[in-house]
Amino acid sequence: MNNNSQASWQEEAQRVAFGIRKQVLELTIERNGCYLSQALSSAEILATLYTKVMNLGPSIAPMLPPPYEGVPGPDIPAGSGGLYHGEHAPHLDRFLISPAHYAVAIYAALVEVGRMDRAGLKQFNIDGYSVEMIGAEHSPGFELTTGSFGQAVSQAGGIAMGRRLKGHTGRTFVFMSDGELEEGQTWEAVQALAFYKMDSVIVYVDVNGQQVDGLTKDIMNIEPINSRLLGFGATVSVVDGHDVDALAKAADEGEPGKPHFVLCYTDTAKGIPLLEERKPKLHYVRFKDEAEMAIYQKFLDEMSFETMEVA
């Protein structure tokens, strides 16, 4: 009974995570290059948020993303990519994506949870479409323009403040990457979130320990993240970012009057062990030659949810 329904959301989340990995690997091979490792590290985070944690309305965007329509202005509303996360309503949650370099993982997640047509992913990084490589707020799933890091958490603060002024009960979720913790603005934002007691803001951080030049610990150390955030006045949950149970439970571990951060420790090669040898240079995966590509193609062909080791 209860066990069955519990098993079903977990299996659903894991299926979504598997689908994100498979689709992004397929795209990486097809285009010979993609932000693959980000999809591998964040797959369960996104899957759990979309399928279990957040209370979003149904998508009100076209299943097949429209071509790029132009910049926000009098005739083009801002944040149109956010329509994939449903209408804005007082009781509903909001989902704001911070690291735009995770765009492909977001698009794949939208496909897996039925918010975007699978054909939409084929528009990825094709000139003239909105399904851009580093998304902006016209790209599916994006409500903000966040390719310059550290700005989404501050904007989430403003959005959550506006919602509080209007008496909304819905929460405001932010997905961010650990590299963004190097930006000074992130800490200004945490300071202000704590000062204004923004307990409706819940931030999931993909702590995959990787940035463009290598491992964060070698490029610019951000640890100890937990105590730094606590010191700034947030509450913190630390979880295995591939454990859907832990990811789901962490959403409710905050305290009244404090912003809540969920630090999701993840593996940039999760689900595709072949990538282990390329660590730590995994920011953007491009294959060396056809032989290597063939190895990954074979891996893709054999990928199946049933035989995959999950969580």
Partner: protein, 337 residues
Amino acid sequence: MEICNNVHSTNLVEFAKDRPELVVFSGDLTGSTEISLFRDTYPDRFFSLGMAEQNMLSWAGGLAREGYVPYLHTFAVFMYRRPYDQLAMSVAYPNQKVRLVGFLPGIMTPGGVTHQAIEDLAVLRGMPNMTILEVGDATDIESVLDIAHPIDGPVYIRMLRKTVPRLFPATERMVFNQARILSQGTDLTLISTGICTEESMRATEILKRKGVSITHLHVSTIKPFSDPTVLEALTKPKYGVITMENHNIIGGVGTAVAEMMAENGIGKKLYRIGIPDTWAHGAEARYLMREYGLDAIAIVRKVEEILGTEFGISEDDLTAVRLEEAFSLSVEQLEAL
């Protein structure tokens, strides 16, 4: 000439009365940007964002997306220089209705180079979606919010505080993208903005007595820069056009005028008076205006140079034109910097 005090302070409170969507952000300069009265009158609509401008700009962008109209108050320089990327990506790109009320523009502050917004127009004119306004007197201050508030997108205002002159009748309010015509003449056209208009008025008054015929326009809408009144004034003068602004001569109003002249094939000489492409230093505004040539005598000398004449106008002559009032800037109080 009437001298007014703290015009923005009371005007903002009155303006906000029936506009519940209007909220105010302070960057830890509440007294220095005349919003103490707003804070005390509408405490629920006043938000202290501290000394953290990057967060303040992005936070404002987020709040604007929820239908509020945040009026950010800090010194002009802190509105764009440190948080430029946040202004661009969190506010201007998504075309949010955020109002940037920037005080002490140009060399109005003894705070020195860190406090002096001398290239704000250059960088913000290049920022798509941005509207830029600048006030030159009490009447401008009283009417600038009426213009800024309904604009669908971000607005940057070069604001004046404390003691300001009333150069224009209180009933003749600022009009969007329409210059004020202060005098008509055929020898030269003078385009001035902000505090330079008061200086210009003193200079043109005495030059007129010397027989120089000047068209003088006060411009308060700096972006867009497409006012037909300005264009017409540029086509008329026999000896050329002078611009005068409290900004680097590169990238500000002088540059906007140059672009308008070039694009319209107006083949006249252009003389730009402004901060001569240099950083400044900390000193009283009047001292700096003299040092960098932003005062009335600087215009007189420029006109003499253009016309190849010496009028024998002295400092004392210009002082006499001060319309029996102490020059407004000289009583500027040194506040928190």
